[in-house]
Symmetry: D2
Subunit: 377 residues, 4 copies
């Protein structure tokens, strides 16, 4: 059994599981990651990769300190991962234009701006003239524009794979196509039954994204989580159309990627694990993108895809211990902030496992028992 | 030289070249097909495969008798090709709904109907009620509907490949990735210089689609031809939405293919060989398709592609002898009727080469010298 | 609940589930198929499509009558499915050459021939000369050749999709990306909890291929099943190299498909759900194929893929009722005969559900409780 | 005509054309690149990306100074292109193991080592023990190993695209799908007839790789050039197997790329433009790779592809002026050193066009008229 006995077994090989594996392996834990399909095979590869610590929040939220801290970690993470794996995670720090296309959106955007104005002075309200001077291809029919210079972006799949490869350099093991059917406690050890045999671990981390609820149900609890399908697409232009990410208040965003590709996302279809790209999803994204950057209509079509993002009842992720099993940790429900939050989540979960606590960060809002919706089956 | 001496060398391995090769090889000619890329690599694979002998014509045209004859050949061609190659060309004979979505289109459609009314009685003018009874998923906001029960469809790429494979069964040779750089007459023989060596043939057929003009220029003549890019796409539904092909007067068509796929085509961008799929092309096709069949918005996206179709100055193909070189034949410019016209073109060209003449069909309107636009370089 | 109440819920949308859905829907049952990914997304699309009722069996086996009956059903099934769905399942009835490449294999092949000799006289032992006369591209270094004229082949994915589409024509519903997490009996009804909500059904069929054991474990029983990965590849030749399927005694087979493609299969790697194509798998298949048909080395590479086949402890499928739940039926473990056995399995399971019994076929050898290996968890 | 009048028209958008466009645009020339298909669509994207300035040469050659100079340019080029385009060209400077697998190869390798020993002391002869200590996954059955620490590698397609994008930043224009049919001199201007209209330029650079001979033929000269097809493939391992590139004396090389991918190349099939991947090509590459790194057999198959490389009669590229047309420059025939030589070729051609001469580099060996094989048609 020794060969199959680990300090920590992580269920889920997406960006969150990979970041946790990276932090734990770096700290000498003997780690195994159990992934039912491929590394970063779901939402982690589908994501736009925006680091929208400011653009995603317009109100106080317990998630805010995590988002800001995590965003600040990217420059050093990028360097460390490049060094260890040779993978460039594509960190771009050219800011974000958050834009309104209707009067209602303009009002919401102004409140969003008021919220950040006091923060560090970086958020700026632009006139349309200033905006089109900064980004000449952005439509001059916009109703309002906020500029967030510190919200950058990365390549989501490169980040995920780099975390995984770096964890392997530190000694972590990965098993793809390995689905955990069940796990049982035997003394101080957890036995994990998978479709590729049984493994033993002292601790377990459930980081299975939208599939986490299903795993938790087998441990006897039901938490308020649901999948949200997001459709994205890639188009390609002859010249770069924008430097900054352009993010409309209605949810449509355009992220400039390398080789003059533009990533356009994302629709939101709740309550489905269906990974089909729909005709109406593509149509809507193309319409919205063209409203933001009219000359996108001349772009070349590349491809479309979907990701299934894990949303929770109150919109906050679950980061904490299982209510009934000690040393079973949960890290899921990051919805569309998984890429942004992956560095800090890795550190937080590793700290919890080491018994270090979360320092100045209050993890109570992310506890699994924070609301009455958890059902004991 | 014997091993490289052929009766006929066909330049171009699209559906027209393949059909000619099939007819000639069947008649015992020693045939070689020289294709600069792959069999049916251009417009022949990109086509929607409609057999629109009636839907494409609303006026007298010298092409009409060819179109009707060619359409009538499909059932036996389908059987013959299936027998020889095992390939099912996907012949579907469930008719076509030609529809109008504006008042102007309705008037044009009525004239189109008047034109065909006398023909064989098959064309029917449907009330919107009749149309939606026949095809319940077709929009009830249409302005006018004509039903053409005899305009069917095939799988364009299967047809093209089946012609090619059948020609090989009859002894034809095919050379892919073989570009003809030049050809010269030496006595009674033509020498073809290619990027894969030199070949000799007694006769040549130029059937290179949109690339024919370029080849003809090297023979000293310039004909009024230009490429027209067409974009198409595939979507997939859970259940069949339509039985018949739905073809709007504005050019958008929806062809039901096997496995509940719908082929939606086609845009028309003249004067480009650029094979990029554009954002605006996709957007327009999806809008038009949704106008015809609203529930298409729930369909699953499959893919998009383009074809470069060979159009001529007066819209008629060139089928005839080269004005300066005897035994150099030209068969090109079929624009978007290449699939429909391929069977008859194969027979006509084979007949010409055999010296049989074209029977009751008058080929004068298709001669290369029919208009003054041919320039001797 | 009415809208979600079905007569039968089938878990698994592969060829077996689709065939059962087709038979049940044809008999007016209200059927829903729950598929965790896509229709025919696993082994059903990966299969070579051989109908090896004779080539796969060289000894008495309870499976033999099923295999022969099922093979005999294909011509009429092909016609029925083409009629209903427009899909040509690619039935080819040009026989199979079963070949030996070593002396040991020759002896085994001779015993194989002895077994079938008495049967219907169709099996023939060929001299190498006869074999190469029949198939000139087959190596003349073979040690022994048996010809089985009645073992044909189909397109595995076309068959699977055609069953599914035909079942829909008869009223069956299909839910893709729908995973059954658990099911419970409530009175006379089964409640199926899925990642897309709850459904109710009077009866359940588990036809989930290699994933069936996992589902059965949640019902409290463990059966001796294991996955066997098989790698296959497609190559393409300019001319057809063989008419018949060539099947080596060592397991390598070459199946001629349309458009001069050759399907080469299959490796066998037990105990893995890993769908990666391995370097050594490709290397071995190419070596073995070249030994059978030397000129295959000039073929064009197309692609490689894998399928995960459901094998059982004694090599026989499970077709019968669940040992503890009445009206829960099991149809799985067809290993590499799933395509061949799909028609008969559909009929047998539909008969069982109708209470008709299995006629002259003895289903005892396929019962879930046939051996002591079933463990009650 | 003004809008279509350029200082320099470059025919060919591969890595050589792109590097020349980059240098010229940087020096304020008004440049247009005419590419018949896509940027870097042929050999430039297919290449392994080795910078084998020492591994490729074991004798004196006029190409040697260019190769060494060009290799030395990569670190600064990488930085400049990353800065301008955001594209990381994947420069890896971990050296190369040049290995012998037979006794004959060992002797040749020793002579190769003798040649470089005096150079700068960097080349090292390793014992098998040293070699396997450095690269534990390399076979211990090798017969001889030379280590070249300064021969690195890049991502060939990223380099090519980065050159193109950087040239655009400096003002160059690119036309894809634009084939030059002919060009004529009119006064001091060249008129280029393309399938997308006519353009005018004061100078022309022919950098069309394997297609250059065809273009030159239309200008009346025939040069001894021929295409050489090379097949390559990608496999993927769980952990990195090697740090350095492993390059066998028999031509097989294994280049470690990011994400644990290994690029295995390359076969050599002369005199074909055929881009099909052959069964025997794959088989041979897999056999050779497994001989060098046995554990590669467990790797995952990714894909295979081909490139058509431009070889010349004496193995040296053509870099110089057209023998009959002034201000028509030729830069082609780099065979399998196009990636390595692209930086220096860009600088040399830009210098020639500026009238600067080639400094200490003697370009006579690369002149188009260097040998009697040039034929005036």
């Amino acid at each position: 059994m020794n060969g199959n006995h680990y300090d920590v077994a992580i269920i889920g090989g997406g960006v969150v599981g990979a970041s946790i594996a990276f932090q734990l392996a770096k700290r000498q834990f003997r780690v195994i990651v159990l992934e039912k399909e491929r590394v970063a095979g779901q939402a982690s590869s589908a994501a736009g990769g925006m680091l929208g610590a400011q653009s995603e929040f317009s109100n106080e939220s317990p998630l805010l300190p995590l988002a800001l801290k995590s965003r600040a970690m990217f420059p050093s993470i990028a360097e460390e991962l490049k060094e260890m794996t040779g993978i460039d995670i594509g960190l771009v720090q050219k800011g974000m234009l958050k834009v309104a296309v209707t009067d209602e959106e303009r009002e919401a955007l102004q409140r969003h701006y008021e919220f950040w104005k006091k923060f560090d002075g970086s958020a700026r309200w632009l006139t349309i003239h200033e905006a089109t001077e900064m980004e000449p291809n952005v439509s001059c029919d916009l109703k309002g524009v906020m500029y967030l210079p510190n919200d950058g972006q990365v390549s989501a799949s490169d980040l995920s794979v780099a975390f995984a490869k770096a964890s392997i350099v530190y000694g972590a093991e990965w098993r793809e196509y390995t689905e955990v059917v069940n796990f049982l406690k035997e003394g101080k050890t957890y036995l994990l039954y998978t479709n590729h045999g049984t493994m033993a671990a002292d601790a377990i981390v459930i980081a299975a994204g939208a599939w986490s609820a299903q795993i938790l149900e087998r441990t006897g609890i039901s938490i308020p989580m649901y999948p949200v399908k997001g459709e994205c697409l890639f188009v390609k232009t002859e010249r770069p159309l924008v430097q900054a990410t352009v993010f409309a208040k209605n949810g449509c965003y355009i992220v400039p990627k390398k080789e003059n590709k533009l990533l356009i996302g994302a629709t939101s279809t709740p309550n489905t694990f269906d990974k089909k790209v729909s005709v109406q999803g593509i149509k809507r994204l193309l319409e919205q993108a063209q409203q933001l950057i009219p000359s996108i209509r001349h772009a070349e079509w590349e491809k479309a895809w979907t990701g299934i993002r894990p949303q929770t009842g109150d919109g906050l992720p679950y980061i904490g211990v299982h209510p009934e099993y000690e040393r079973v940790w949960i890290a899921t429900g990051h919805y569309r902030n998984g890429i942004l939050l992956s560095p800090i989540t890795g550190v937080l979960v590793a700290d919890l496992i080491e018994g270090k606590g979360s320092g100045e960060i209050d993890l109570a809002p992310f506890s699994v028992t924070r609301n009455s919706h958890v059902t004991h089956l």
